[in-house]
């Protein structure tokens, strides 16, 4: 039996890992139904030569996904922001992305349809609209460069997740041992005005246009709040690029100035801003979709291989622990298989996955507004 739900959104909360448990408990007390939790790391640039050997320990983060009906999104985001104290400097971020549609095959813990509204919160609405989420998936060796480029172009310190990459190599029989499955997902959340800039800066630094380097895509965000630390390095800079940009934002009272080519802070320490004048024409704006399939972790390998054999160019798997309201002593583990394909393929693939994959699963698609890969 396949149930289809409309008007669902994915709310993502990123906070320090040591606080994840507490915030989740508070959210459950407020009435959320389920959450998927995984770990990530923050960014800390290494500027000293010896940090190649004795590297600093980077901030450990938790990424929490909640799949929520649209009417509840605002309320949940505000509650989460309150519990996680997101107004404080460097506390984390929260954002929501709409789903085009969502199908459930078999049993799956999800927000019940007949839920009443959550009790109203005081509307101290700090949430911004016009945000973009950018994800770059690569083998990891260029992560440092990508983060640097993103931050120079005005992003906060990127959040990095591990994912398991599958693709053509998995169809090569025993030669699939040559697949290095651990990929790093560099993700940032930026204002729309900065998006093109950060996107092309990251794409360039990640060399995603060469063979086998990875892929980058961006997605529209409905609402969000970013307060992620972006410590550039341990050495004391007078001010980081974003601090300068933020300060100018404050003085000007808007962000429109960033579009002007004539800003006077070129050169020297601000060399990263060269991207401001060099908007890359390379990115594809043909409509793409991100298909996400959530299945039991034990079956994820099999399902992803099946999907690749259906013709998907590649799949990235993130593993999550599922928290549901009933407090059990054991975790359930799920895998989220992500595939980016163009719109016609997405529709075809989604249909085939629902028809052919036997396992219980949840599948949803989300719009992708820019995509580059080899």
């Amino acid at each position: 039996m396949i149930i289809t739900r409309h008007n669902m959104s994915v709310v993502t909360l990123i906070i320090g890992r040591h606080r994840a448990k507490k915030v989740l408990q508070d959210l459950f007390a407020d009435g959320i139904h389920s959450a998927l939790l995984t770990s990530a790391r923050g960014t800390l640039m290494q500027d000293k030569w010896y940090q190649g050997i004795l590297s600093m320990i980077k901030p450990e983060l938790a990424v929490i996904h909640m799949i929520v009906p649209d009417p509840f999104v605002d309320s949940i985001m505000e509650r989460a922001a309150k519990h996680a104290q997101l107004h404080r400097s460097g506390a984390g971020s929260i954002f929501s992305k709409p789903c085009v549609d969502l199908h459930i095959k078999g049993t799956f813990p999800l927000w019940p349809i007949d839920q009443e509204e959550l009790p109203e919160e005081d509307a101290s609405n700090d949430l911004h609209e016009n945000l973009t989420a950018i994800y770059l998936i690569s083998q990891g060796e260029r992560t440092e460069a990508v983060c640097r480029a993103a931050m120079h172009a005005g992003s906060h310190g990127p959040v990095i997740l591990f994912s398991e990459g599958h693709g053509l190599r998995d169809r090569l029989g025993w030669l699939r041992i040559t697949n290095k499955p651990t990929k790093e997902v560099v993700s940032v959340l930026v204002e729309n005005v900065d998006a093109e800039l950060v996107f092309s800066a990251m794409a360039e630094a990640g060399k995603v246009q060469s063979v086998g380097r990875g892929l980058i895509y961006r997605m529209p965000v409905q609402k969000g709040l970013i307060n992620i630390v972006s410590v550039y390095s341990q050495t004391r800079h007078a001010a980081s690029i974003q601090q300068i940009i933020r300060a100018i934002d404050d003085i000007k009272g808007n962000k429109d100035w960033r579009h002007q080519d004539s800003i006077a802070i070129h050169g020297g320490a601000t060399a990263g801003l060269e991207f401001l004048t060099k908007l890359s024409p390379k990115s594809t704006h043909k409509p793409h979709r991100l298909i996400s399939i959530i299945v039991d972790r034990d079956h994820s390998q099999k399902v992803s291989l099946q999907i690749i054999n259906m013709g998907a160019p590649g799949a990235n798997i993130n593993y999550f622990q599922l928290y549901i309201q009933t407090d059990s002593t054991q975790h359930q583990e799920f895998a989220q298989i992500n595939i980016v394909v163009n719109e016609p393929s997405a529709i075809e693939l989604e249909k085939r996955i629902l028809e052919e994959v036997e396992q219980d699963l949840m599948i949803f698609t989300q719009p992708v507004t820019g995509f580059i890969a080899y």
């Binding site: 448990k21 341990q234 016609p344």
Partner: protein, 629 residues
Amino acid sequence: MNHSTLISQRPVKIGLRTTLNILFPYLVEKILEQIKSIWFIVAYLCFFQIVVLGLPVIFATMVTAGIAIVAIGLMFFMEGLRLGLMPLGETIGTHLPRKTKLPIILFFAFLLGIGATLAEPAIAVLKAAGSGVKPNQAPLLYSLLNDFALQLVAAIGIGVGAAVALGVLRFFYNWSLKVLIIPLILTLTGLTLWSFNNEILSPIIGLAWDSGAVTTGPVTVPLVLALGIGVCRIVGKGDMTTNGFGIVTLASLFPILAVLILGNFHYLKGDYYGADHYIGQLEPIEEVDNTSQLTSKPILQSEVFSEAEFAHYLITNEIPDETEIQYKGGKVSLVDGQIIHDDTSIIIVKKISQVRPYDDDDWDPQSNFISSLQETATAALKAILPLCLFLFLTLKFILQERLADVQMVIIGIIFAVLGMAMFGLGINLGLTPLGTQLGSNIPSVFASVSPWGMLGQHGPIISDGIGGRLVAILFGFFLGYGATLAEPALNALGETVEKITVGAFRKSLLMQSVALGVAIGIGAGVCKIAFNIPLVYLLLPPYMLLCILTWISSEEFVNFGWDSAGVTTGPITVPLVLAMGLGIGANVPGVSNGFGVLALASVGPIITVLTVGLLVARAQAKMDIENER
């Protein structure tokens, strides 16, 4: 362009050429990784032998071939861990809590611990370290190693088994590792002090502490780690940062306790060598000089004068150069303030002109490649196959589950066996001869010795006894550093730490802190042997310091630090350190065995990792304050 981009569904068929094209970059990358981890120790050993000691490397071709085999073997072994052993362990770990009850899980963990101990031949290492033990000097130690060898193995096995079970139990109840470690250390310290004040018991202290260090080998550690991580994925509570760690720590502390208890038991029962109730053969067992296996020196042979040289001497009556005059027999008396030899034979012996290799072979004629390969292959099979079989059977019959990718796991296990066999062979051919040469030549910095595999006397390079010993200590320091970076189990642990913290905690940070700690520990160990300091003085103060450091450190660093200490003493460090310990010990009067160096090598890294942790925490707290501003 509204067409689908889905790729055709035909299965991919590729030819040999493409296969090689795919395989080649993979192999290059993997082999480079291993070269990166072993180059330091190899370059360092060669440098020391050739430049500092001024001696050639004996059996150079064999050593070079051996080192190349080590690199290839390590490559296969690490890939085997990644593809086979670790996924197997993790899968079982995730299914255990879902499919069975806690008592069964604990029993499984106990069996796994015992199995792992039997698989990895720790006892052989202990015997080698105790090869110089004389029954009349250290009767209890001698008895434990010989009469009660089986009991010793059993005690260590039960120790490890109990440790793995306790480690798993800890995950279920989310106990802090600190709470388990500190009382354990205090107990061990108490027992050690009690034993130290007893003439019979004190020699077993080194054995006990070393047995803790050697039990956790390159197969056990990754397997147990993976198992722990698997279990924690399902039952983990708390802040989920250190999930899966800690078992290795317990597995290196419990055997110490077990051996100390076993020693005390036999002491009280009085059935050790020479005691009242001794039931073994009392007559000294034919002394097998194991030392000679490690440092087999060819007997020093004098050179002889030829007939021609003799004829020349008769004619010219000139004493040739490079000779030594010895006086034998007769009477010596003091007459009018002069020393007078009466009826004494004067012997003129040719001195060996210079130190030179015993023979010019580039390959040790005694080393048989085929039998050596057979030996290491058997050891690899013994270490890996029974454990994997046990795990497979558990998975199939007790958990009734399947692996996600059986084919890959089987390839991985084959790689692991292949890798372990090759890398054992490479160590026998390359690293051990190189390490042994250096180990026995190192004393030449402070004493005159006959270099390994060479004729003639060499040294002392530094005539000042203390200075020379300091050079030896320095040598031990860098030996420890380099050998640690090459240890496969530590590399696997580092990768696991990196994976579980999503890269927040880099492998290199852990490896460097651990290597520094091992270096300090081995330096201290050489110090112990060179100056014949009782082990207790060097072992107990660091452990006391550790209690404090452990208490004030974060749970995360306590787990990583203690676990990495458990894995430092592996197949690369142990032979090198033992060869060096025995070599130096042989030239210092009163040193009977090479015990204790390994124990010191495992306490060092805990101190350094915890210290680094505290420093990092301080730096980051400072940074956070700056951020808040």
